[in-house]
């Protein structure tokens, strides 16, 4: 053989592996693998040099090299190696080494791959099915690494940790950043490290099983490959537990009597499989043949080659000239802070502020005037109480070192850890981070701050202020989180101290262009750029430059920055990094040239300062502090446990909770409960749950939540008198043509027995309908239609509302990853199949493709439903019939025929085609059932609108705020809206839905009349003035509702959209424009997904609640001012009228002492029609002056009421032009009465 050796190279995202293979025996004779620490080329050179040293007789022309792995790209030609795609390489290696393996799961640093070997039943061939995670789920190995760092567990302990399925907490493994956010929350709630890691492992495994398998079953034997699978026993155990569960669920028979550990295996030397596989592949594939170039070529490439290949489109560095940089550094150097010194023996009276952030914890002391005394900072060590104890001990030491005594006047906490501290230390305030940052910025930078931008480790918070209050805010969602942490972890990866980041970044002359967005994508970009040869200096500069894009373009989404104001304050620990600051300042000044960009003097501790300031305010107001004391806190004993006893059994979720008990030195124990997913988890006894439920009921009655009401109402059956509508049906029969009636009668006689049979048959038919998607709109129709055909209402069965449990059980069959409302439909159908059907057999599952939906809005281009929503029934069908037909297996028919709800005739035809066979329908009864169904829809709509009207009227009467949920109908599902609305309901805000807004033109006229008059819209339901391309019904309705909210002073908005919602995306900008023009309070959650980001929701709810409180104050203030104005105007009116009347005073006084004012009805109408006078008339009618009542009758000549009704503005002009006729007659009261 010509070839003396094969070299197989695998350049992964974290490691380089090399093997030397003997071509005759195809055996590995040499192998080595190393972490490359992002120096792939250098590490490969080291390994190849080692090979050449080990085999000094190796001749380059006798070597064939093959390369694989995600980092192989730039090295292929340099080394002269044939490229083999890594999945193919792994598959070949496994086929060669483990012919009995049917499934492979490989978790890499950035990728997860699943390879399945399946036999084609027709051809008998062994086919390979491969799948890799899509870009949104990448970063598995890297995520585990980062989380391990966060948890703070040492490597040795990690390899001995066992998987415990009983102590699992919720972690979203859909993407690395989501998982990190949840992990931070768990750590901050005091959950032990082992439980956090097991939860992470479980989440990753379940995510891969539900998405990456693309609905395929992983049949034995299953091979686990890749770094995490190889080195983490708890992850292996998790696979070994979860995969057999899917076998049981899907009826797959695994080999009997064999332990799962023997069916799901981790082979030795698995790390070399890809490298070996590339040789196996390459040795047989001519096209991958290349001339091996040895180590010299690689060395040359490292020395000179990379630079020249850099992308010519790279950006410049962070500065153009040195002078510019020097000036910047001078302007923005961090002010030196020296803790205040006290004479020995002093008593330092101070307030403590503590910010338990995601990556670090900070504490400050401020004096009674709010001035900073000292500050402490430490990286989080995992447990928030332990962090707090250490920080407080440091503060105490600060005093002791000066021989002083620290007297704590109050304690305020903010950040992720605030909740647990509230319980354990009874702190004076638990203030939401956004508010803490606002207070701190105002104290340090003045009341005239316009914008505050805080970049922490995990979150970005941008606050817009007006008159020193939060006017609006934007928070990073899960998809834009983790930016600060990324800079830090990047510095770590390159072995640079985070404080030196900026110095390194400033030395770069160019920077690669990162695509902004999610931190996982940024990290992927980083890996790619590194492969291209960018240096760490350039990468650092590039990352700094992308940060402002992430803040302003991705999180804030307001391109016209100058509208935000001109005084910008930058806060958060990331601002210590001057490279990040420079990028921010340049970005802002480019767009707002006269901007004043200030870095908070204590940017890292800004949150803690805000908490201290708020504690000072509250304690001063209250007169005392509730804080248990600094020594007591330092000496707190903490214990936590998660076991069967702590599990919450008050609902089906059975959340695994953690009880964190803190015992103060005086023996008092306080308990903080973490890990629950609903309110019931906050209590421990049944009695407490009862009390909780009672409170809840009371709250519901007081502050209705019509979103919740609607979510239930649409699926309930209507009272018989409302739907059956027998009378109408009879009328319909009467109205049939004579011929038809006769035929019906004849047919009726002929087939009477048969009809009776059909009737009885229909009574038995049971239909399951998933409670999903547009069924939240059309369920009343569907139910009433079937009931109208004689199906028993008990036999029309809807799946339950979405729950996490349902999703985990039934969501694993899908092959795609669309928005959550669509993919959860699988779980609902699964629920019907395996819960409802098992309880009592169903005959049909009805999940129609609803292509078009009816809408109350007008002038629409089209009335389509979202294509994903419309097509999901087909996807569900595919998922449940792909490997085997689960419907058939359960003896259920699945009906998904398309329906068009905008064309009644077509709908009748489509329904008849759906149900014609099984229910033996005749045409007329189909038509009647449809009419019944439309009536049911109308009834539900009216009921909802009536309730909406009540809520709105009440709010207007009481001058209070109502929250309107802008969402698609299925966001009514509490499992989809994460019960955010209930949070607001519990804060005392009634909630209405789009459907419950009264659609009466008369009612709406006061809001839309002006626009109609201006010719902007044709009627109140037209949105062409803001969105001419109005195809999508649900988005159009959202936009319409936003217009309504903008015009109703008592309505605030909560805007919900699902992650990947393509139909809502174009409406974001429109709704933003509508809402910001009217200054309506607004909060958006645009990336709702399967996981409930508890921490993120909490900050949002608290911040928005704060905004709503300020808005309520504004409404109160407005009312107060309006009342005052009214009073003044009333007084003035009397004065003016009296001035006129005074001339006739003698007459009036003499003839009738009992005088009062009455306004002629006709004139009243005129005034009412004239908007600017309407208020005046109301005021006048109420009460002029009890002492001075005079009846005045106004009589207008040439008064044309009709004309005025049509055009009050024109009338005003007419009136102005006919002053002489505008006289009124003042008559004596007695005469007026006679008249």
């Amino acid at each position: 053989m010509n070839t003396s050796r094969f070299i197989g190279i695998d350049v992964g995202s974290t490691t380089v592996k090399c093997v030397v293979v003997d071509p005759d025996e195809m055996k590995i004779i040499w192998s080595r693998y190393e972490r490359h620490e992002t120096r792939q080329a250098e590490k490969l050179l080291e390994l190849l040099t080692d090979i050449h040293q080990t085999y000094p007789d190796l001749k380059t022309n006798k070597v064939k090299a093959y390369i694989t792995g995600s980092g192989a790209g730039p090295l292929i030609d340099v080394v002269g190696a044939g490229f083999v795609q890594e999945v193919n390489a792994v598959a070949l290696a496994v086929e060669s080494l483990h012919p009995d393996v049917n499934s492979i799961i490989e978790l890499g640093g950035q990728d997860a791959k699943i390879i399945l070997f399946k036999e084609n039943k027709d051809s008998g061939e062994r086919q390979i099915i491969t799948s890799m995670n899509d870009k949104c789920a990448s970063g598995t190995g890297a995520t585990i690494d980062k989380c391990v760092l966060k948890v703070g567990i040492n490597r040795d302990k990690l390899t001995t940790l066992d998987f415990d399925a009983k102590k699992i907490h919720h972690v979203a493994a859909k993407c690395g950043v989501f998982a990190e956010t949840d992990i931070v929350n768990l750590i901050k709630s005091g959950i032990p490290a082992s439980e956090v890691l097991c939860s992470l492992a479980d989440a990753i495994v379940m995510q891969n099983l539900s998405v990456l398998t693309r609905g395929n079953t992983l049949t034995e034997k299953v091979l686990l490959l890749g770094g995490p699978n190889t080195y983490l026993p708890f992850l292996q155990q998790c696979w070994q537990q979860r995969i057999p569960e899917t076998w049981r669920e899907r009826g797959y028979q695994a080999a009997e009597g064999v332990n799962p550990e023997d069916l799901i295996i981790v082979p030795d030397n698995a790390e070399y499989y890809a490298a070996f596989g590339s040789v196996v592949f390459g040795s047989a594939e001519l096209s991958a043949d290349k001339t091996y170039k040895g180590v010299d070529s690689l060395a040359e490439f490292i020395k000179n080659g990379r630079k020249s290949e850099l992308n010519a489109g790279a950006d410049q560095g962070l500065h153009k000239e040195i002078a510019e940089l020097d000036a910047f550094k001078e302007n923005y150097k961090t002010p030196l802070f020296k803790p205040r010194q006290y004479p020995a023996g002093s008593v330092i009276k101070a307030y403590i502020g503590l910010d338990g952030g995601s990556t670090s914890s900070k504490a400050v002391l401020i004096d009674e005037q709010g001035e900073l005394i000292c500050k402490q900072y430490q990286l989080s060590k995992g447990n928030p109480i332990e962090d707090t104890k250490e920080l407080l001990a440091a503060l105490k030491n600060y005093a002791l070192e000066q021989n002083c005594q620290l007297q704590v006047l109050g304690f305020g906490a903010t950040g992720y850890a605030a909740d647990v501290l509230e319980k354990s230390t009874r702190c004076d305030v638990n203030v939401v981070e956004t508010v803490a940052h606002m207070m701190s910025a105002k104290i340090s930078c003045g009341d005239d701050v316009d914008v505050i931008c805080d970049i922490g480790g995990q979150d970005i918070k941008v606050l817009f202020l007006q008159h020193g209050q939060i006017k609006n805010f934007r928070l990073s969602n899960q998809c834009s989180a983790g930016n600060g942490m990324l800079l830090q972890s990047m510095a770590d990866q390159f072995g640079v101290k985070v404080e030196e980041f900026s110095a390194v970044a400033f030395s770069a002359e160019l920077s690669p262009k990162f695509s902004y967005g999610c931190a996982v994508f940024l990290d992927t970009d980083r890996v790619n750029f590194q492969k291209e040869g960018f240096s760490k200096e350039e990468l650092f500069a590039g990352l700094a430059r992308v940060l402002p894009k992430n803040v302003w373009q991705y999180v804030v989404q307001i391109p016209r920055m100058s509208e935000l104001g001109r005084k910008f304050v930058l806060q958060g620990g990331t601002q210590y990094n001057l490279a990040a600051v420079k990028a921010q300042v340049d970005y802002i000044k480019e767009r707002v040239p006269d901007a004043e960009v200030i870095v908070h003097p204590h940017c890292g501790e800004a949150g803690a300062m805000g908490a201290a300031v708020e504690a000072r305010r509250v304690v001063e107001q209250r007169g005392y502090s509730t804080f248990i004391g600094i020594d007591e806190t330092i000496n707190l004993k903490v214990s936590s446990r998660t076991d069967e006893e702590t599990r919450c059994n008050f609902c089906e979720n059975n959340c695994s909770r953690t009880f964190i008990d803190t015992e103060s030195p005086d023996g008092e124990i306080s308990r903080y409960i973490a890990g629950f997913s609903c309110e019931k988890g906050t209590v421990e006894s049944k009695e407490a749950v009862v009390t909780l439920n009672q409170k809840r009921k009371q709250l519901k009655a007081e502050f209705p939540n019509l979103v919740d009401y609607e979510a239930n109402r649409v699926f309930r059956r209507l009272p018989a008198d409302k739907v059956s509508n027998d009378k109408k049906c009879k009328q319909d029969v009467m109205s049939m043509s004579l011929m038809k009636t006769m035929l019906a009668v004849i047919g009726g006689t002929k087939h009477k027995a048969q009809k009776e049979q059909i009737r009885l048959m229909r009574k038995k038919v049971r239909v399951g309908i998933p409670r999903v998607l547009n069924h939240y709109t059309n369920a009343p129709f569907m139910r009433a239609y079937l009931e109208g055909l004689g199906l028993l209402s008990n036999n029309i069965v809807f799946s339950d509302q979405t729950s996490e449990e349902m999703w985990l059980e039934g969501g694993k069959y899908g092959s795609i990853d669309p928005c959550y409302p669509a993919k959860v439909s699988l779980a609902h159908v699964h629920h019907l199949l395996y819960k409802k059907h098992k309880r009592k057999a169903l005959d049909v599952i009805w999940f129609p493709c609803i292509t078009k939906i009816q809408s109350f809005t007008s002038e629409m281009v089209a009335s389509t439903s979202c294509p994903v929503v419309a097509g999901t029934p087909k996807v569900v069908n595919a998922a449940f019939t792909k490997e085997k037909n689960f419907f058939k297996e359960n003896d259920i028919a699945y009906y998904d025929r398309a329906l068009d709800f905008t064309d009644r005739k077509l709908l009748e035809k489509q329904l008849s085609e759906t149900w014609g066979d099984i229910l033996q329908l005749d045409k007329d009864e189909n038509i009647m059932a449809c009419e019944n169904a439309w009536l049911a829809m109308e009834t539900v709509d009216l009921d909802l609108q009536r309730r909406g009207l009540e809520v709105l009227t009440q709010a207007e009467k009481n001058n209070t705020v109502v929250l309107l949920m802008l969402g698609r109908p299925y966001h009514n599902d509490p499992g989809l809206n994460h019960e955010i609305l209930e949070e607001f309901q519990s804060l005392g805000y009634p909630v209405i839905s789009i459907r419950s807004i009264p659609k009466d033109s008369g009612y709406l006229s006061r809001f839309f009349k002006d626009d109609i008059e201006k010719g902007l819209i044709k009627d109140a339901f037209d949105i062409a003035d803001v969105w001419p391309e109005n195809y999508s019904v649900n988005s159009v309705q959202k936009v319409w509702a936003a217009k309504f909210a903008a015009r109703h002073p008592n309505v605030a908005v909560l805007d919900l959209s699902s992650f990947k919602c393509g139909h809502d995306a174009p409406s974001y900008g429109i709704i933003d424009q509508i809402i910001s023009s009217s200054k309506t309070p607004y909060m958006a959650m645009h990336d709702i997904d399967a996981n409930k980001p508890g921490g993120s929701i909490k900050i949002r709810v608290k911040t928005y609640a704060y905004t709503l409180e300020r808005y309520q104050e504004l409404l109160n203030e407005r009312l107060k001012q309006t009342n005052e104005l009214e009073k003044r105007v009333k007084k003035k009116r009397i004065e003016l009228l009296q001035q006129h009347i005074k001339n006739f005073d003698d007459v009036l006084m003499s003839e009738d002492s009992n005088k009062w004012i009455k306004i002629d009805e006709q004139y009243q109408r005129y005034l009412q029609e004239s908007a600017d006078k309407r208020d005046l008339i109301q005021k006048k009618v109420v009460d002029i002056n009890a002492r001075d009542e005079v009846e005045v009758e106004f009589k207008r000549k040439d008064f044309n009421i009709e004309k005025e009704n049509n055009q009050s503005a024109l009338l005003g002009q007419q009136l102005a032009g006919s002053q002489t006729d505008n006289s009124v007659e003042v008559k004596k009261g007695a005469n007026a009465n006679e008249k």
Binding site: S70, S123, M132, S815, I816, K874, H1063, H1140, S1223
Partner: protein, 525 residues
Amino acid sequence: MKSNNVFKIDFDVVENKIRAYEKEQAELLNIEPGQTNHWVDKNPTDFRRHQRENTTILFGGLTLMQDVFIQAASNGLGYKFIALDCPDNAAMQVGKEFGNRGQCNPTYFTVGNLVKYLIELRDKQGLSTREIIDNYIFTTAGACGPCRFGLYVTEYRKALRDAGFEGFRVVLFDSDGDLNQGGPEMGLDYNVSFFRGMFKAIILGDVINLMAYRMRPYEENKGDVNRALEKCRQLIVAKLLSNKNVIPALHESKKILDAVPLNRLQVKPKVSVIGEFWAMTTEGDGNYKLQAFLEQEGAEVDIQPVTNWTLYIIWAVMYDARQQLKLKNKWTTRLRLYKKLLLLRFARTIMLMWFNRYAKAIGLNDYHLADMDELAKDSHEFYDNELRGGEGHMEVGKLIQSVKYSKSHLVLSVKPFGCMPSSGVSDGVQALVTGKFPEAHFLAIETSGDGAVNVYSRIQMALFKAREKAQKDMDQVLSTESVERVAEYITTQKLPASWYPKHRCALTAANTVYAMRDQGLVSSH
């Protein structure tokens, strides 16, 4: 009943005084005026005939060839059309800066491409914003709902507004509409001549592209095909600019292409590129230059002509009309529907006629446009024909037909990240299709403008199997010896580009040998 004591007061004087007082007091009390100026989308579209001379009409979005032909055809009608360059990553970055979050990447690419062009006009060519707004318009097809594509215009307006070009006109023609849109005074006559020009340009682009993708993988000298295509392009553009018959130019082009030496005996796996319309049509960064990458990796690309899309739109409207005819509608409605069907049938016939004529003239032999009725029938079981948006049932139908007729070794479905009809529905359904047709080799990839390395890696993964399948096709044909004989024959006979073997299997090389066998040049195994 009139009182004796009737006195007159001028009420308006009182009211005016009170109003003034109220205003003054409201200001003192810091009360904001009650009337809010609610936001209105100005949606400027007014383009008049008299402005035509000074107005440059921007457009773009199809293949490079089609954009050039549309530009030429429109300019031949007296307009000043300029095709924007193929959108690149820089355009996408601009689109992301000024667009809504959560859009799909065709939106970012195409919207960003327009804004980027205008920014360059302003910043590099020194035109004032006013001049740009007054003298330029953008035109595109509208009414493509219900996927995001139909909502693009909203995005154009938002991005233009936010980038400082508020008032810039985006003028739409309705792709589902009739052939006479707009009024007599409109700057752009959306009339029969206009649409005839557009459709001809699209079809010309299709036939040239189809020829190019058939030839390029087999060229003997790298670059020959592209050089020849450039010559053809110039010939056709000249005819379109002068509004003359293009057939002679196509005959001329045929000669040019026939002169390019090809070797169709190379075993190149055939990859059908299907998926979302824009992602599979664009030839730039929007799909990571997918077609070029596939050719570079040694594949023959089976592209989807834009004409198919037009035929699908016609099919959809006809389908709906037929459904309506099955209902009990008034006779006037029925009459209207029959008329509509007749017109659509006529339009379809004309399109097919043009396509076949052009294809014949340039030498595109043995190419058949998809039969829309058959496609619908094949896919209906899996993907309800009444589901619309994006490519509708076509993706599923194309995969089925790829297996049914052994059209390709790999079906690559390319779509933007989070594409609603394609990633959100079709791919889910394809899982069942591939289950039913295990011989189908299918890969779905999402594009987002970044992460090209991962996408390439996935394609390479799938190409491995495609190559195996291609080799198997070849192995099944004839002995190596026979192949060598065919090669020798082809070299001596210099088979032209317009010679194309009849379809037997997916592999062109195998088909070539089959064709030779049919001619008696070689014998069977």
